[in-house]
Structures are given as structure tokens and as C-alpha cells.
Symmetry: D4
Subunit: 255 residues, 8 copies
């Protein structure tokens, strides 16, 4: 991200120390990052609604603390996903404003006072055991600027439960539907609303659920009505996708 | 099925030509069928509600006619499944009372006047393309003595459609639920009634439906509430299973 | 489940404060639960033969005790499935009438004196290692009001063993057949009786048994004769399905 | 959809012929449809941007024409997908304003003069053989009111090709990325923009592409950055999902 | 297969034209075939009980005739497998002593008068649709010198049928068990006899039989009792394996 | 296994207390076991070369000791497979003549002095990590009366190693080939000998070996030359199958 | 590929019309292609040894001729793969110097007189049915400048056949090993040479070969010794990979 | 590896104690190893660039030390892969010049002073979690004589990162590309260079990555451009394959 080589080259052009055709050749050979094409990353970091994200799985508590502290020197908002309980404990002990989400293993840091997000993202889950994934989705969407609400325990075997929330479903900018064994919930939700529906299969299940594959296939086969699908247990991905939609609805010309 | 060897043996015992311990040894060595253990098959043929069944797939029209005519010499009721259109035409032309079911490829023969079955078996299907399997299930159950009704086109993406039939669902002795891409319908039905629900996945579908595997897995993962599952496209098997339940409910001590 | 909005609306109609056409529009917009469609759940709880069920997997001993105690304030019969040994110990220590089923990990509570169920459900298992699933099925069916008997260790590699039980098989209202490596037993049983047969594949096995998939596929491919299948290791689901059939046979018009 | 029973009930309440508690009980037992919950379907038909859709696969040319003519009596916009060439020919011959899309097998009917959609949906495809699916997605999105542009032949093995479109990518409200053998394109696109990206795997491919499964898995594993996935070859589903997002961005409070 | 280089080398050693250490180095570099290790192939052709085998699939009728005629110049016994009907017709028309096996697509040529094989190989099949594979196994074993008998239509759903053949089963040197949907038959047979049992799954089946995979897995999971398995539909392989055992039993020291 | 009912029946026939036709009816209804059809099991136990077998997996050390002691009251030879190290220790401590096989987890008991088996069964393994399965196969075959030799570490990547054993390979009555990652060894062996070859895939392997599935598929696809296959890691099954062949070769008319 | 915008920008910098920081921002926004990074494609077309390649599958004969004629206006060497027989006929009739490869469906055009390639690439195939893929690999490598030789019909079931070619194997710069049912050949070859070995599984096979998956898995599991694998039936890919290695060996500093 | 029998035979020929034809017969019967065909192995050990390799998985620390010490008596270079931390510690403590590679679990021993390899092999990895596999590949290639450089963290979701290394990519004799969830990186790299590209999928990933299967399929489907693939996580295999290419480029006529 070092603009120096490019800057020096342009100064040399300006000062006549290098002619234009030679500069063009050198530009073509410069490593990509020096040319500023990585500004997407910079933009991302600067845009206030977006947090820095650390994928916690496979990192030791000490590594997590080091990475988090380094990031917080330059950023105000941080989302760490998939921490172990030891990782969560270390982050909570060492980061002043850390907030721990036990079910999903997320840890977040935000500036005080916390600002409420805007634009409704609704996270719907079928069973209590889908809670970890639903929380990861909800925390992710909220950290990306959305106002998030959750509707829980509305599996299709008791169909009246989801029906009783029909009005709320129709108010959301994006709906995340998390379900394990029965991958059918997104089909039902997709039939009740005309808003974008993002389905997340979970690995919860027994027997021939095959670690979420059964739910994944069920959800893919419901796509006709405009439902799209994330990877198994990928609450983070669903939260990001919903937040992209929500941000666009709130501010259609932001890019 | 020849009882002669057994009879001769017992006569020999009675007449003292062979002693008991020797007779016991010979009995142990007799082929199974001589002992009458095959009476199950005979019982099955005699019990009036049950048709003879011919699996039509892979048989030529001429073979089908030959088999059907041979069976109808000794039986009044015949069910031929999975016929080709040529097979159906040959059977219709050659068997006086043959009735052809175009969608499912079934052909049936019954004594006139046809007696209406009794005990409700309900066949529910999600999409119009599931019609062939649903019809095979319905014809099978009816030929085994059930009164059959069909509820069609009630997929979960328009959930109000199945809900409008709730009362009817609760009257059935057994419910067969046929669904392809969305294997979710049995879960919904199983949550609305306390009667036995038999799910049949169909191979209708596109993309990652894998010839019905997606629907099959979805249905297996709904079993917790008391739903059981048949093989993909196996309308015949579902019809038999529902008929077994229906017969038992109508006449609890028939065996 | 709050009937208030509906009640207020009807009072307004009665009192002429709102006209009929307006009331109809408001009714269409009311959340589903207010309309009483959830009475199914209520019915379920009231019907005396049915226990409350808690899925124990993934819950701490303390959570299990809390849930169980809360349910037992309003219900007399409780079935907890898939407990750990710690969970079982906690429930046994804290619930006065708790009964522990070690092989399957079930815990049950019933009013004293225990009433014997009625209508025979037969649970047949192929090998000793299928015992946990068979017990889960048996306990579940019994807690739903069935009289349950078990036939064990009758795998098809010693075919005479199942044959020696033929008479007993023919007396059952529903048969649950539990088998692991060799998914063939339901085919054999389905050929011996005309009663409903529910097959449960188990994950017991080695090599290419793929956690029960081999047995599952074998069972699905036997469906033609009227056998239906539950998910792998799903003894609970099989017990529910058998109990639905048994209840219907005992009392054909109960719903 | 008959409001009569409900109306009669409310009249009876108003007239004092039935008291409120009795009316509440009767309401709970009324079939769902009478309560007006099916208005969603009616809403859908009335909302002007949405076409009627006919899934053409498995229907004869004559059936297609019949269905299309019946729908066009009451609707102005029609989308028929997955037609055979015979089906396309029949529709083109019999429907005055029919427009045929050869690559994807779509047929569309719109009122003249055609109104240009608004809000950019971009359809990006990796190879020429992905063209059928890309066209189905594009036609679907356009028929649902979007302005659609296509970017073709930008597979990742020649990475500079997609990079040269970066500016255009950043202008879209939703991006549909269609790719077969190499399911990697959505990852690249998702890294270049912050808008919602919908990936569609295609069944084009050879060897171990397994009818699109390889591309599907690749796309699911890119979800972390906010990409969501449709079923294999499901251009229609992707078009619907993109159109939902686009409609919401254009008119955030329309539902 | 040219022994010349080796012979020359040894002559050179004998004549002292090359010393031993140099000869050892040259030997190590000689191509394998010169050393006579390929005599196995020659042995195979000479051993009278073994036919020449041509795999007919993918060869034109003319190619088949050419190959067969070339082989019959030097051999008396020929087995062609997996021919098309055109291939069978061509071979029957052009080879004087050709014998056609319609169900399996085999064509055989033997010297007249045909000698009856010896040592019993029993081929057992579950359903009529397994007949092609069973015939391929039987023809193969017979062409390799075995006396072959067939037992047909003894699926496990009618278990008494196989039991009635128990005595015959116990007389065979090797048993080939061919079964499709229900891969259970080898387990039953393996429990009735102590002779080697070779299982052949067939691709016959519907739904989740997956082209024989279901039967294959079922058979593999029965191996504990000493059953071994061939590839799906591989009647030829099973016939070869049974013939190897049979030959060894008849003539224990033949190799 | 109680012959009493049968004996009483025959006495009644002999004494004229029951006539023949009535006796025949009662015989058909008698449970199978009373008729002596279970003599197969008895034969099995009596035949001196065969051990009692206990499958050790899933049994506690105490259970193993109890079962083993009970069996040794009536039998001289015992094979326990798949023990844990604790199980092995318990058996070794409590059974006087127990012999422990550490690699495979087998424990055997035989009468002293041990008699050497006869008839060569050769166990060939590709890598050192296949040793546990190879030992299980070898111990099983030896306990069933075979003389067993092992050839180790002869994978196909160093093809000269197996070739150097060609003479030994040709002396065996049956060859068991154990291989993991490279399932190719049975093809090579099957091409070198004309004796029965039994292939055992092992779950050893990494990456896309899928717990032995890769080796299993490789072995099944080599079957054409007369190789048959056991389940993954099923050394016991291979040992039984080889012993069946070996016993038959040694004593062709033993059954 | 238009350098103009970049040139204009640099001129503006040189002339002081735009300052350096502004120029840096504009550079970051320029489309990638203007910067010359796409020169790879140009290089590829110019380098004389490389042909233009057309993937023929899915293209009509007329389309193939059009594309080929257009390419031959600017290039001398052309490779068309996967043509139908109609496509081959059309190309042969319309392109003066076209050469048709019947087995693989390739068509090639080269300048006359044809120059022999250099650097040995050896294509080894296991069975005659692997010939199409082997020829595609050989033609591809030859068209990319290699001298190609083929070794055919050297499956591992007759291991001496491949051994007799050991010397030739050791002379190749790269070895392509094509095999279907038995994916073992690359392991054997990889153990005989120290040169790069590229394995190509073919879809030829029966039963559980699963369209080449079995061979693919076998080959992947042989990788330890330095074998790498191409997609099923991908002779073209293997030819390209071998040609890359061969070109590098011949001219190590060419890039 | 004992040349004695061969030597004695040749001496007997030389001395006339045995005639040539008898000697030829005896030669054919000699075990393979005596003939010197195992010289490949010897060659391998002698060729200075190649280390002895020990596969550490499944071996105890003590076993590893014993094997390593034995090998180091006769060899100077040793590579131990897949050690546990205990294994690494034991080797480091007991082998004087051992060097431990923590991420990959490799341990190496080389003569001092270490000689730098030559010929560039580039190891490119997509994410930090692919580091273990990348290091195994790098260490393996270096131990086989290559000069190795690594490029890390260049996944396709941030495509500019790999583009900035284009120049370096074009200098390598072989490129190893290691990637987990997104198997797309090899396609991008293969499009940027004309050198051999070896792809290694890693098992890193979540949800539907299936232990690397998703990445493996993605990589196989990129093969068209000349990319070849190793087994999942098989850094060692990729290192060997790259080293074979590199050695050949450096010294084209070495074999």
C-alpha cells in the first residue's frame, strides 16, 4: 500500500527526468498495489459502517489479542468471529470495550456510545440449535450498520408460528433464514414476502443430514422464487450479503 | 408346495415304520416349502381386497398381455404398474375390463360393478409434475381397498394452500405426501395432523436436486414428528404402506 | 396465543362500532396465532396419552433439570431423549419419579401407578449393537400409549432366528425394524406380515457402511412391499410413527 | 377464496345471533383461504412490474399456447421459460406480440411500446457456453422491471478481462455471475464491488464437473465476502432475486 | 518374448567373452520380457479349460467377427461378452459353432461334442431382472470348466423360497449370488452354507438404488461372514472368481 | 432349540392321538427353531477347526472377559477381534492361554499344544500402515485352520518387490491382498496367479482417499480378472472367506 | 489495449497541467487493460510453436468452419478438439490442409512441410478403450511442439508389459499416463522413472467406476511419488501441461 | 538385494557346470530382486540431490528417532514429514543437525554447510491457513535441490495481490499453488504464466468444503490450461513433482 514508487515516478515525469514512453513501460511493470488499485481495501476500511474482521478459528488467544490490538490502533470497529471460549476470555480481559457473544463465539468492539444501525435486517431461525449461526449473522449485519431483529424457533413443522410474523417479515430490507434439518423454511418465507431472502443451512442435525448437506440441497431447490443460499453455517457470509443489500437500499448511490 | 413327503413321513410314524427320533432328523432336513411355511403367499392371493401386481417396466407389450391373461384366469383384480404407452395400448385392447391411468402408466382390472373402497387415504402432491407418482400411489391404495382422495398443487412456497385443507387432512387414516424439489411438505403436513404420514420424494427437479436425492434427504430429516419415507418415485410402495395401515384401522384383528 | 385482539374486534362488530366489511379486512391482517389456529398444539398437550418431549442432546444437566421441572408443573408425562450420563444422573437425582434407560439415554416420568399401554408395537433389532436405537423406539412408543415388546438379535445371516418369531410378528399393529450393517431385515419382515413395517437404519457398522447410509439405502430399496423408512438412528421418530398407527387402530375416530 | 362464510359469521355477530366466544371458536375452525390470507397471490398479480411466469419444461406446444392465451386475457406481461424449439415456434405463431429468446428458450410478451426497465442489474458470464443461463437470468430480471446489461466471456483464466470492467461492476444494484467449470468468478467479482453478488453455477463442464456440482461447491465456498448462490442453471431464480433487490433499491418502501 | 538377448549373453559368459560382473550389470538392464517372466500369459493360453475372452462392448460387428476368427485359428474355445444384438447376429452368421446367449449378450464357441464341466458352481439370482448378469456369470464359469446350475427368483422378501434350496446350496464349490435392489440375499446365503459366496450387485433398481450402489454397499456390509463382492453387473468377474475356486477344489495342485 | 414340542407331536402321531392331516397343520405353525433347522449353528460349533468369535468393539473389558469365559466352558478355540488395549489386557490377565496380537487388537485362545494349520493362505500388504488389517486377516484364517504366511510392504510404486515373490504367490490356495491408498495391488497380483484373490481396502490414506473408499473403488474395478473384494478394513471377513476356500480345497466333500 | 489515456495523463503531468497527487488518483481509476498488463495474450498468439485452439463440443459444423477460417487468416497452426463426425467432415472438406484424427475427434492444420517436434513426450495408455483420450493428449502435445510417442495397452493386470518399456520411459521429458478402470498405472510408471508423470483418468469403465471417478481417486492417491493429475478425459489439458514442461526443458530461459 | 545367487549362477555358466538353456530357466525363476532390477532404488539413494524420506504420521517419537538414526548412518540428507510435536522434539533432541519446520511438521537433516538449491520453484498460497501445506511443499522441493521462494496470502477475492507478483511468477521453472476454500487461484496463475503449474487443494475450509473436496474439484476443472493437481493437503507430492521438473530443466539429460 506504499504509494512512494508511483509518486517518485510521477515526480520524475513532471520534472522531465524521465520521458513519457519510458514512464509508461515502468508503470506496466510496477507491482499492482503501488498503482492504487488496492484502494478498494482502503475505501472499505474508511467507510464508517464497516468493521475490521478477524476470523478467529485456528488462532491462539494470544494471537487474537495481538491482531485485535494492532487493528484497533487504526480502526474503531472490530468483529472477531469463531473464537474459542479461551479466545473470548482473552479478548474480553485485554480489550477495554470488547463485547462477547457467547452463543456464536463473536467478539465485537465499537466506539461508545453505540449507534443503533438502520434499515431492518430480519434473522429468522428454525430451531434453538440454529442459534449460534443466527447470532453470527445478526452480529455481522449489525456491525455493518443494519438494524437487526431476530425471530426464533419458527420451524415448518408448526407452520402457524412463522405465519404469525407475516407483517414483520414484510418490513425487512433483507431476510436471513437459518435452518438445519428442515431446509424448508426459506421456501415458506420466500412465498410470504417479496424482499430478498438469504438462506443459511446449518450443520445441526442427525442421521442423514450429513453435516448440513441435506438442508443446503433443500434450500438450493427452493431458489426459483428468488431465494439465494450461503454456505453451511456461514452466518457471517449471510450477514455481509444482507448488509450489502441494506446499505444499498438506505443509500442507493453510495459507491 | 408339495405336502407329499411330509405326509408320507407322518404316515410312517403313525404306522410305526419309522421311530420318532429318526423322524425328527428327517423333518429337519426337509426342504422348507414342504412344511407349509409358504402359506403366506397363498393367504395373500386369497384375501379378497388385494390385487395381483405386475411390475411393467422392462416387459414387452406381448409379455404383459400374456402375464395379465394368465393371472386373470385365477384372479379378479389386477394392477400393472410402470407400463409404456405401447404396453398400455396392448393391455387395453386385449383385456375386456382394463382401465388405463395415463399419467402414472398404471393399468387396472376389477370385477364389475366396481366397489368403492373404504377408509380414507389422502394423497397430497406439491406440484403438477409430481402427478405421475401421486397417481401411482392413489391407484395402488384404491386397488388395495382404500377410499382415496387427492389434494394437488399445495407446495410450501404458497403455504396458505395446504392450510386451507387442514380439516380434510385430519380425516384420513393415512396420508401420502408426494413432493419433488421441495421435500418440505411432509414436515408441514406432519405438524398439522396426528395421523400416519408417508412421504414420497420424486425425481422431478433441476440443478442440485440429484434425481430426487435432495427431496429424499429433506424428508428423512423431518422424521422426528412421525413421518416415514418411501424410495424416490415409489408411489406403489407408499400406496401399499398406506393400504396396510388403512386395512388395519378398518378391521383391527384381520390377520 | 393472545385472543384479545380478536375478541376486541368481534365485540366491536357486535356493538356496531365497526362494520362487517372493515372487520373482514382487519381479520385478514391479524397475526395467525390470534385466530386460534394453534389449537393443535394445545390439543396435543391435553390428550392424555402423549408425553411432553425434550430433546436432550446439546443441553447441560442443569438446563435439562430446569426444563423438566417446568414441564412437570403442568404435565404428568415426560420423555427426555439423547441425554449424556451426566444429564441422566442429574434428572434421576432431582426428579422424584424419573426412570432412566441407560442404553438409549432416555429418561421418562409417568404418574404412579404406571398404566400399561395397549395395542402391540413390536420392536425388532438385528444386532446387539442396535440396542440403543431399538430402546429409544420402544420407550417412545410406550410413552405414547402402546404396549411394546422387543425381539432382539435376529439378523438375516441366521435367517431361522427371525422365522421362529413369525407368529408374534403377525400380531403387532405396527412393527419397527432396527438394523445397521445389514439393512435387509425389514425386507424379510415385510414379506412375513401384512402389517405396517417401519424401518430404522442405524449408524452401527464399519468400512463402507458410511454411518448408516448403506443400511438406509438398503431399506429404501425394500419399500416396494410397503415398508417405510425413518432417518438413521431415529428411534424416536419410528416410535412416534408406530404410535400414530397404533392409536388409530385402537381408536379409529379419535381425531 | 370465498369470503361468504366469514361474512355470514360476522353478520351473525353483529346481529347478536351468535355470541363472541362462540364466534371465536368458529373462526379458528374456518379454512385458511376464507380469511383472505391468500391476498398475497392477488397482490402479486396486480403489481404491474411483475409478469406471469410459466415453466415450460415438460409441457406440449399446445398446452403452452393454451396456458399463455388464458393468462394474457387478464395480464399484460408473460414470461415462459425452458421451452423446446417446437414450443417456441408455437408460441411465436399464435401470440401476436411474442418475443423469442433462442439461447435460453424463453418467450416473453409485453405491452407495446416496451418500457425500458430501470436500476442496473448486471449479468456477467465466464464462458460462451454459459450463455443460455445468463440470458435466462437477464430476461427474467428485465421482465421484473430491471435495466439489464451483460458482460460476457470474462473467465478467471484471463483475469485482465473482468478487471477491465471494474467501473461498470460498481454501478449495478445487483450483479449476477454465471460460471460453469470455474466457479471462481463470483469470488473475484465479490472482491471488486460492495454490491450484492448472486452466483449461478452452470452444468456446463466435463470430467469431474459433475453437472455443475463442482462450480456450485466453489461458489458456496466463496460466500464469506457476501456472495450468495442459486441452484445449478437456475438463471430464472437469480433473475428474480436480483429483481427483488433492484426493486427495493428503486422504491425502498413499496411493500 | 524373445529369449535371444539373454541367450547370447549367457553364451558370452560361458565362452569367457564377458566377465561375470559385467554380465550382472547387463542382466539388470535387460527388458523384463526377455527374462521369461511373461510365461504366465503363455501358460494361460495353453491350459485347456480356459477360453479366449473378447470384451464385446464398443466394438462393431465386423471388428468382433475379425477378432473372433483370428483367435479361433489358434484356440478352440471362445467367449465374447457384452455384444449388441447386431454383434450377436454377425457372430452367429459367420462362426460355424457359435452359440448365442440372448439375455446376457454372450456368444460362445466350443469344440464338438461339448464336454460337460465338473464341480458345481451355483448361480443364485434374486429377481427376474437380474437374469442378464446371472447368465453372464453362469456362461463364464461354464466356459472355464465348471458345472453350473442356476436358482432364480429367490429374493429375501419371500424368504421361504431360498430356504427350500438349502440342500442344493450346500453342495456347491462356489456360490454366485446376483441381486439388485435388495443386496441382502448374499447375507442370507452366507449364513446357510460354509462354502465361498461371491456377491454381484446389479444396476437394476429405481429411486435411491443409484445404479447398483445401494446393492453394492449392502453386500460389502455383509462381508463379515465370508462373503466377497464383485463390481456392479460384473457377472464375468464373478464367473472367473468362482471358476478359480472350482478349479482349485477339483485339482488342488494344478499350478 | 427345544425339540420337545416336535417330539410330543410325533409321539402323538405314533400313538394315534392325532391324525396325520392335523399333525401337518400343526407342524406348519410350529416355530422354526423347534424343527431343527438351526442345526447349522450347532454344526458350526462342533466342527473342530472353527473358533468361537467375539466382536470386541464396543464391549467393556469386563464384558469381554465374561463372554470369553462363558464360551470357553464349552469350546476350545476362541477369537476376539477389535479389542481396545484395556480389553486385551483384561483378557490376557484372566484367560490362562490367551495370546494377544497387538497390531490388530485380536486375542486368541487355542488348546495346547497348538496345531499348525494346513493349506497355504497368503496375506499380502502394500504398506506398513496396512499391518493391522493384514494381521486380523492372518489371525482369522489361521484360527480357521489355514497355514498362513505374510508378504509385506510390496506396493505397486516399487513394482519389482511384488514380482520377486511370484513363485510364493502361485503356491497359495487363496491370496488376501490388503492395500490402502493404492488399491492397485490386487490387479497386479490377480494378473500373476490363477488362484482366488480376495482384496481388502484399508482406510489408511490422506486427502481424497475418503476413509478407504478410493481403494475400495479401485479394487472393485479390477474385478474382471477374478478378484473379489471385502469391505474396508474387514480383515476378519477376508480371513473367513479365504479359510472357506482353503477348507474346501483341503477336503472337497466336507459339507 | 489502448495506451492513449495513460499517455495523455503522463503528458499532462509532464506539462504541469495536472499535479502528482491528482494523477495518482486518476491512475488508480484507469481500466486495467490500458496499463499493458494484458500483453500475455498477445505474446501467446505470437509465439510460433503454439496453435490456436478451438473447443469443438457444442458447435455446429458451419460454426466450426467459420471460426477456423477466421483464425487461419492470421495464424498458421490450428487445433480443433472434440468435434462430431459431421464437424470433422465439414472441416476436412473446407480447410485445404486439415488433418483429421478420428479416434479423438481432433482436427489440426499446420504449415507444409510439417516440422517434426522435439523433446520426447510419451503417452502411455492402459487399454484400447482409452485410445481417444490418449490421442487427444498426443495431438495436443505435438501441436505445441513436442516429439510424441505412444505406448499402448499396458495395464497393470499384465505387469510385464509396462516393464518391457522401462528404457523408453526413462527417456521422456514428460510422461502422460491415460487409464480408465485401473487408475494404478501412473503409480507403477512413477515408480519406474524420475521424470514428471501426468495422469489422466478416463470415463471408460463399468459398474462402480462412476464415469472415471474411481480412476481419478486412484490417481490422486498415488501422488506421493510426484505424479500429478488432470481432469477425467482431459487429454487436451495433459497435452498442454506436458508441452509446458517439454518446452521449458528444451529452452529453459524462454519466457 | 543380495546378488549372490545370480553371481553363483553366472560363475556356474562360465565354468561350464551348467549349460545355457538350464541357466535361462533358472534365471526366469529367480526372485526379481536378485536380478538387480531394484537398482532404481539404489540410484535414487545415490543421486546426491535426493533425500531419504520418512513419513512420520502414525509413528512414535522413539520409532522416528530409530529410523532416522539408521538412515543417517548411510545417507547425508533426511526429510521427515507429518511429525507430531512430540516427534519433532525427539528428533531435534537426538539428531545433531536436525532442523524443525513447525508449521508443516517437517524435520530435515542436511550436511553442513547447507548448499543453496538452484532453479526457481515458486510456492504460492491463498490464505494463511494454507501455510502448513505450502511449507511442506517448499521444504520438500528444497530438499530435492530446488531454490524455493514463497508468495503468500494472494487469494482471488483480492485479485490485485496475485497480479502484483506477475513478474516473479514468470521466472519459475515450476509453480506450486496451494489453496483451500477457493480452488480458483491455480486458474488465475495458469493464465498468467506459461510454466508448469501444480495445484494442491487443502482441507482448510468450512461448510460445504468437504475437507478439501470443493477445492480439489475446482482445481481439476481448471486443468484445460495446463494445470495439474495433487491430492488434498499433499504438499509433499507437489514438492516432488515440482522438483522433478526443476531437475530436468536444470540438467535435461540426467537420467
Amino acid at each position: 500500500m506504499d504509494p512512494q514508487p508511483l509518486e517518485q515516478l510521477l515526480h520524475a515525469v513532471r520534472d522531465g527526468r524521465i520521458d513519457v514512453s519510458k514512464a509508461m513501460a515502468e508503470l506496466a511493470a510496477l507491482p499492482q498495489r503501488s498503482l492504487g488499485h488496492t484502494t478498494l481495501d482502503t475505501h472499505r476500511a474508511l467507510r464508517c459502517g464497516h468493521p475490521e474482521v478477524v476470523f478467529g478459528a485456528g488462532k491462539t488467544p494470544e494471537e487474537l489479542v495481538d491482531i485485535a490490538q494492532a487493528l484497533l490502533e487504526h480502526h474503531e470497529r472490530l468483529l472477531v468471529t469463531r473464537t474459542t471460549s479461551a479466545g473470548r476470555a482473552a479478548l474480553a480481559a485485554r480489550l477495554p470495550r470488547a463485547r462477547v457473544w457467547e452463543r456464536s463465539g463473536c467478539v465485537t468492539v465499537e466506539p461508545e456510545p453505540r449507534t443503533e444501525g438502520s434499515g431492518l435486517v430480519l434473522v429468522i431461525s428454525a430451531g434453538t440449535s440454529d442459534g449460534a449461526v443466527a447470532e453470527e449473522a445478526a452480529v455481522t449485519a449489525r456491525m455493518h450498520g443494519a438494524h437487526v431483529e431476530e425471530v426464533r424457533d419458527v420451524g415448518v413443522a408448526g407452520i402457524h408460528r412463522i405465519l404469525s410474523h407475516t407483517q414483520k417479515l414484510r418490513e425487512a430490507n433483507a431476510l436471513i433464514v437459518v435452518a438445519g434439518m428442515e431446509g424448508a423454511l426459506p421456501s415458506v418465507v420466500g412465498g410470504l414476502v417479496d424482499r430478498p431472502v438469504i438462506a443459511v443451512p446449518t450443520s445441526v442435525g442427525y442421521g442423514a443430514s450429513f453435516g448440513g448437506l441435506s438442508a443446503l440441497l433443500g434450500m438450493l431447490n427452493s431458489c426459483a422464487s428468488g431465494v439465494t443460499v450461503c454456505n453451511i453455517d456461514n452466518g457471517f457470509g449471510a450477514g455481509c450479503a444482507a448488509a450489502r443489500i441494506n446499505a444499498l437500499v438506505k443509500e442507493p448511490r453510495q459507491s
